[in-house]
């Protein structure tokens, strides 16, 4: 029997709209201005609302949803712990996301944690050896270069590109804040998962022919492309 549907957990990159003002008109005007700067960019993007203030006006979210639809954005949910906002969200047909931190917690410090400090040149985060099972490395707003391997059970996350001099056997995420131009480079790729800007592929879905030799992974038309010939 062929599959009709498949419901899977997903890692999505969403645009978050933070709201700092509880007056709808003011918010609308500010948005209007923002969209006018790059009208095409906002067409069709999924948006999560994150109110930073209480919204006393009971129709605020409903009005905002209507306005975003007019601008051809797709509001899908609200991120909040505020009971009153949750109620409004339900009324406006929005999903509610719990207010968990932006980035997954880091269970253990990576070996090169000290090079993560923000001072100086914002070049790539360098990891001296391998990233081991249970460790997670996160390169905020930059690339990461792993001099060793990404072992099974390890995770490497970067807002920029991910470069691995050894073998990727764990999980790698490039463009984790939505940068679709981010790429993954590995001397060998035999990963548990690769993900660029929210589009991911699991080991079982990756063709074995891509698991030997140098590999580049990039995003083209919302699809992960494996390119073994990128050096030629």
């Amino acid at each position: 029997m062929s599959k009709i549907i498949d419901l899977k957990g997903s890692i999505l990159s969403l645009t978050v709209l933070k709201l700092y003002d509880d007056r709808f008109e003011v918010t609308r005007d500010a948005l209007e201005q923002k969209v006018a700067q790059a009208p095409d960019f906002f067409v069709g993007i999924p948006v999560v609302l994150e109110p930073q203030v209480a919204l006393a006006d009971a129709t605020f979210l409903a009005l905002l949803v209507e306005f975003l639809h007019q601008k051809r954005m797709i509001p899908i949910g609200v991120r909040t712990e505020d009971e009153q906002i949750k109620e409004q969200a339900e009324y406006a047909g929005l999903a509610i996301f719990p207010n968990t931190p932006d980035k997954p917690a880091r269970p253990e410090k990576p070996r090169a944690a000290s090079s993560e400090d923000e001072a100086g040149l914002k070049s790539a985060l360098m990891i001296a050896g391998s990233v081991r099972s249970g460790q997670q490395v996160y390169a905020k707003d930059r690339d990461v270069v792993v001099m060793g391997s990404v072992n099974p059970g390890a995770e490497v996350v970067a807002d920029g590109h991910v470069h691995v001099m050894g073998t990727v056997m764990g999980k790698v995420f490039a463009g984790s804040s939505g940068e679709t131009g981010a790429r993954i480079f590995a001397n060998r790729l035999n990963p548990e998962l690769v993900c660029i800007a929210g589009m991911y592929q699991l080991a079982e879905d990756i063709d074995d022919q891509f698991k030997n030799g140098f590999m580049e992974v990039r995003l083209e038309n919302d699809k992960l492309v494996f390119n073994p010939d990128c050096l030629n």
Binding site: E108, K109, P110, R111, A113, S114, G129, S130, R132, S133, G134, Q135, G148, S149, N151, P152, G153, M169
Partner: protein, 270 residues
């Protein structure tokens, strides 16, 4: 200068206690003053393998909690000079050991002139295992040639690099050594076990030695004797090599390949 060695693995039942006992006995036979400490509170089996379980009056927990002093609790080995055992307690709760308390015991042992302090870690990657590795200068990671054991060793190596005193204070990192135990070349050849190269390749830790799977280990532990003292056995020789390499000697690795089958088995199959 004293060196603190943790024998650790992540996974249980891989041969940490066997390795701790033989390493400690081997170093003591070379003339060093050695203490071996059982950190496995609640399980307590180092004293059984060392054959001194009937002589335990005070244990590690008693010392940490100030109920006995070190001299009262250290058990002197009857076979090897300069070898002392600090047993774990069988009944106390697992939180009986504290970072400060352990630190004090280790400082006292150093002050007593011990050359090597071998810490036999409990299984896991939680508090007990973290305490055992916290003060280490050297780590011996014990691994079996199978995927789950290698994965756990990888995790414990990550913790060594992040959660030890040396990592926290920014001192030179713990030096890491790999001991691959229960190695069975026939099962490697048949694909049931990982080969030594595959393990070293993944963990990227220098190999101190390969200890073959051996009935002698079971016999020795039933007899309450570190297997390294059973000098004729393969396992003992493998552990002697481990000790020599640990002390800086260069030696070729042994016990890596299956024994050649004799004519008899060639004609008659297995």
């Amino acid at each position: 200068m004293s060196r603190v060695i943790v024998v650790t693995s992540g996974k249980g039942g891989v041969g940490k206690t066997t390795t701790s006992a033989s390493l400690a006995a081997g170093l003591a036979k070379k003339g060093y003053k050695v203490a071996v400490i059982d950190f496995d509170v609640g399980l307590r089996n180092l004293d059984l393998i060392m054959g001194c379980e009937r002589r335990v009056v005070y244990d590690f927990v008693n010392v940490v909690q100030g109920e006995a002093n070190l001299k009262q609790a250290l058990i002197r080995d009857k076979r090897v000079d300069n070898l002392y055992i600090l047993a774990a307690s069988q009944t106390r709760d697992k939180d009986a050991l504290t970072e400060e308390g352990v630190g004090k015991v280790i400082d006292d042992l150093k002050a007593d002139g011990f050359d090597f302090i071998v810490c036999d870690s409990p299984a896991g990657i939680e508090k007990g295992a973290q305490l055992a590795l916290y003060y280490a200068d050297e780590a011996i990671v014990v691994t079996n040639p199978e995927v789950s054991s290698v994965r756990d060793s990888d995790r414990i190596l990550g913790i060594l690099q992040a959660k030890s005193r040396r990592a926290e204070s920014g001192d030179a990192p713990i030096s890491e050594h790999l001991v691959l135990t229960r190695y069975n070349p026939e099962r490697v050849d048949s694909g049931d076990m990982l080969a030594v190269d595959d393990v070293v390749d993944l963990l990227k830790v220098p190999l101190l030695g390969v200890v073959p799977e051996s009935q002698q280990v079971l016999n020795a532990s039933n007899a309450g004797e570190p297997v390294i003292l059973d000098e004729e056995s393969d396992a003992a020789q493998a552990y002697m090599d481990v000790v020599d390499r640990f002390l800086g000697e260069e030696k070729e690795h042994r016990f890596l390949t299956a024994e050649k089958k004799g004519l008899f088995s060639k004609f008659f199959g297995k």
